[in-house]
């Protein structure tokens, strides 16, 4: 004997993330492009995303405010993963605030010795952080391209000097296919992100990122 049929509708819970942008301490309007979900907005705006999902928004890395170049500094409740790309997790409704800070020539920039090194060639990633981080620690996050996405590898750390200058030096390698990491292709394309904490207890800031392709 069959019972009546009960229909259950299961919906995704949507979480609102509000993106705002500030230059120095003034709220500004910035045109941004949604990567996930796709779209185009101007700050401040709210994106609704399924609970637990990742929202990725492309902000301009640099803007001009008060006739002065400004670049992304601190990001609250989100992460700057380089090149102006901001990532936030829709775990609860909140404001993701992107702070643009005045760009001082020669400050908060990174340089790479070569974006197309050969295996074994020395690669230098260097730059200067202003103001100098309180704890002097500088982090180099390494990502290797794996088929269709970057996969994070172990980080490198160094310390900057009293002028904020830091330098990472390593030999270019191609990560060969490793079971359990990226077992399909050798990772020639690599991305390096430099991060630091201005003050202990603050969220980390992304100084910049570089993408290199290592050749055999």
């Amino acid at each position: 004997m069959k019972s009546n049929v009960v229909t259950i509708t299961v919906k995704e819970r949507l979480i609102g993330l509000t993106f705002r942008a500030f230059a120095d301490t003034t709220e500004i309007k910035v045109k941004v492009k949604g990567i996930k979900p796709s779209g185009e907005w101007e700050t401040p705006f709210t994106v609704e995303a399924p609970e637990g999902s990742t929202v990725e928004v492309q902000f301009p890395l640099e803007i001009v405010f008060n006739n002065m170049p400004h670049t992304i500094g601190l990001v609250e409740y989100g992460a700057h993963v380089g090149e102006g790309k901001i990532v936030a997790i829709a775990s609860m409704p909140r404001e993701v605030i992107v702070h643009y800070e005045r760009k001082i020539p020669g400050c908060n920039e990174i340089r790479v010795s070569s974006t197309t090194p050969k295996v074994g060639e020395e690669v230098i990633i260097e730059g200067t952080i202003c103001p100098v981080p309180e704890n002097r620690n500088v982090q180099l996050i390494r990502y290797y391209w794996c088929r269709d996405h970057y996969r994070r590898a172990s980080d490198l750390w160094t310390t900057c000097n009293d002028q904020g200058y830091f330098r990472f030096q390593f030999r270019a390698t191609i990560l060969e296919p490793v079971p359990g990491y990226c077992n399909i292709v050798a990772s020639q394309k690599q991305r390096y992100i430099v991060r630091y904490q201005r003050r202990v207890g603050e969220p980390p800031r992304t100084l910049g990122s570089v993408t290199i392709t290592v050749y055999r």
Binding site: M1, S3, V6, V10, R13
Partner: protein, 106 residues
């Protein structure tokens, strides 16, 4: 010489009840991903059994068997209730129903 008597045929039948109605109710019909729904199955039998009867009910979700529940009908009663929960982890529309045998011995 032996003399055979007439044969008496004894028919042994099981005492059974017919299930006349199965009703399914949910405590809510709209949920968010990751939430549970509580269900109640009510089984009506006829005639009222002299001893308690346990009726198994299979639970189907979108035509696929997902769970089983037993419903007890007390002696002298005609209805019994069983309870179960289902967890929904994907968005969508789900059709849920229960199915029992047509008859149950007791």
């Amino acid at each position: 010489m032996t003399v055979k008597s007439n044969v008496i045929t004894v028919k042994v039948v099981s005492r059974e009840v017919s299930i006349t109605k199965v009703e399914l109710e949910a405590d809510k019909t709209e949920v968010y991903v990751g939430e549970e729904v509580g269900f109640e199955v009510t089984v009506t039998v006829s005639p009222a059994p002299e001893r308690p009867v346990t009726v198994p009910a299979d639970i189907y979700v979108n035509g696929e068997k997902k769970a089983s529940v037993t419903v007890s009908v007390p002696a002298g009663g005609t209805t019994g209730r069983g309870y179960f929960n289902l967890l929904f982890t994907e968005p969508g529309t789900y059709e849920v129903y229960a199915e029992t045998p047509d008859k149950m011995p007791f």
